[in-house]
Symmetry: C2
Subunit: 211 residues, 2 copies
């Protein structure tokens, strides 16, 4: 009888769980023993379900993956925890590491990488997606240049206009500057906020009450 590693998945989006299920079901050596949509549910279930590896979303309503990781790491120290996230924001990664994860992968991870992560963690090693380590290094470097992360008044102004769904051309017209200048500001803004898209930027801005 083969000794399968038992995996449990926590994510508030069932579609992510279903996607992961389909992939993991094809990976030898692992079996999914359950899944649920909230950290609270997970804690209940883990008290009566034998689990080896916990795959948990980082951002969840009510109780975050960070908190869940802390509790699980404390109550069930044998459970290896792999974090799943859209982003590898350095601060969040650091908090998850502190909380006790063994791995951190992005949600768009391909099958090969997921296999590698699961195998490594199952062997007692750690696994961090390359993008994560890159992100951490960037953050470290950025931390040393903290002044470069502060948004200028102009940049904040432009964020506000982006939030109002003005395009670059419109922003340029309203501010009497070149469209190329707007693009440059956008570039600087995305770099400083460590985001790649307008969606990410707006979330950043809302979170930090910039707008």
């Amino acid at each position: 009888m083969e000794n399968l590693k038992r995996i449990f998945i926590v994510d508030d989006h069932q579609m992510v769980i279903d996607g992961l299920r389909l992939i993991i079901n094809t990976i030898p050596g692992f079996e999914i023993v359950g899944d649920c949509n909230s950290a609270h549910q997970a804690l209940d279930i883990l008290t009566e379900t034998a689990v080896d590896i916990l795959l948990t979303d980082v951002s969840m309503p009510e109780m975050s993956g960070i908190e869940l990781t802390r509790v699980v790491h404390k109550k069930f120290p044998h459970i290896k925890i792999i974090a799943l996230s859209m982003f590898g924001e350095a601060q969040v990664v650091a908090e998850m590491i502190d909380a006790g994860i063994s791995g951190y992968i992005l949600k768009n991870t391909g099958k090969q990488e997921l296999i590698e992560a699961l195998n490594k963690v199952a062997e007692g090693q750690n696994y961090f997606a390359p993008e994560i380590t890159l992100q951490l290094m960037k953050s470290f470097k950025r931390g040393q240049e903290s002044e470069s992360s502060r948004l200028t008044d102009r940049e904040i102004e432009i964020i506000r206009m982006i939030e109002q769904d003005f395009g670059n051309k419109q922003i340029a017209d309203l501010l009497f500057i070149s469209e190329r200048t707007v693009e440059t500001h956008r570039k600087n803004i995305l770099r400083k906020t460590n985001t790649q898209t307008v969606v990410g930027l707006l979330k950043y801005a809302y979170e930090r009450k910039i707008i």
Copy 2:
């Protein structure tokens, strides 16, 4: 002594006011007698400032342009009101018309159109930006096909993933469908929500508690 039409501008974004000021200051026949950043302020100032034309933003915190228009139209019936908005959403336009506006222009309006709007309204006529009338006609037609505006479960699912900053490729991977299909869904979503960009869509979705 030339008889200039006195304009007052209300917009919570000073940059919009400044932009309008620069343009209007070059238009013969008009003078700006004041501006402020909130509807409440405007009401106070209008009681002691002679104004012929009020340019007001539609969306403002605390008291909207719609409410402002209602009050101004009632207390100062001689004041012609021109609405300024990012969008020409039919429902909003209709409410502003009910409230008593004489004109409605988009914030990205060029100088020529602003001149035309001001002149027409100053003569006692109405002026609506061509996009607005087009939007109203679209809305009228859409109102007749109200079923086509209801978002399907799949579409809501995809909106949620867009909000999580998943790109089309990622959404396709997670849902095991073609990227082309995702594009099609996006197209249908934007059409149904009458939005043109992700920013507009997210605002729509947040407002309506879709996400």
